[in-house]
């Protein structure tokens, strides 16, 4: 095989690969569903008798098309020096037809603080919904953002 011929094959392969890559990028459908999740934060309730502090995560899922059978899962994790521990996992489910753009909330993922010890928290969330007979999945950002809070649990 002479150089010109092999160079031609290489160029052709490169062009085909590039076209394929472009083709995949163009044809890849955008996920119709997304979720939004707050970073763990302290939420408080103060009454005459007591004060309550809790580390809490709020989340919602939404799709740009009518969807059904939504489940939105949220996990709250604590990171110690040596290990990570899941404190609570919750799932909000809505089997009914949800109009495009309407939000399904998971607002009850929290753990009461026992003291003011600085503790590292992060959250993971993911959702699924049925659109035209197919499951669609969404999840929170891949990088985990760890947040120290004065809330020992």
């Amino acid at each position: 095989m002479n150089f010109k011929y092999s160079a031609g094959i290489l160029a052709g392969t490169f062009a085909l690969t590039s076209l394929t890559a472009v083709g995949i990028q163009v044809s890849k459908p955008k996920n119709p569903c997304r979720i939004e999740v707050s970073i763990p934060h302290i939420s408080t309730f103060i009454s005459k008798r007591q004060g309550i502090r809790a580390v809490k995560v709020n989340a919602f899922s939404t799709c740009n098309r009518p969807h059904s059978r939504v489940s939105l899962s949220v996990q709250l994790w604590r990171e110690n020096l040596l290990f990570k521990e899941m404190l609570i996992q919750t799932v909000e489910r809505n089997p009914k037809l949800v109009p495009a753009g309407m939000r399904v909330y998971n607002e009850a993922t929290f753990i009461p603080c026992l003291n003011f010890d600085s503790t590292q928290y992060y959250r993971i969330a993911y959702a699924k919904a049925m659109i035209d007979g197919k499951w669609h999945f969404a999840r929170s950002q891949l990088e985990i953002e760890i947040r120290p809070l004065n809330c020992g649990t």
Partner: protein, 108 residues
């Protein structure tokens, strides 16, 4: 604008955090009932309650507590799982908070 709360609006955050008030009020006002329920749950390993328009199910297994709330009025549900502490007094307190948490979540 992207904040610590992502694209969740301040109103949505506030509404979500109002749930803590509901949780706190339940802890204050229904503690005796929760202690009775906790005793039943610890004795039987599971507990099922119909209250208001909701069905509540709790189960203990392998040092974990799972709960499930069916909101019968709109056919939605909320469920969860969390590990239980080691000491028996801490276990009771944890179960009591889960009763209040699941009832607060049933009102959403």
């Amino acid at each position: 604008m992207q904040t610590d709360h992502g694209n969740i609006s301040p109103e949505e955050i506030q509404r979500g955090d109002d749930l803590i008030s509901s949780f706190g009020e339940l802890l204050e006002n229904a503690r005796d009932r929760y202690l009775q329920q906790a005793s039943e749950l610890l004795e039987n390993g599971s507990l099922e309650i119909f209250r208001g328009n909701c069905e509540y199910r709790y189960q203990l297994n392998n040092d974990n507590l799972t709960f499930h709330v069916n909101r019968l009025v709109n056919n939605t549900s909320y469920s969860g799982q969390l590990p239980l502490p080691q000491s028996s007094q801490e276990v009771i307190e944890k179960i009591v908070t889960v009763f209040a948490q699941s009832e607060a979540a049933s009102r959403i």
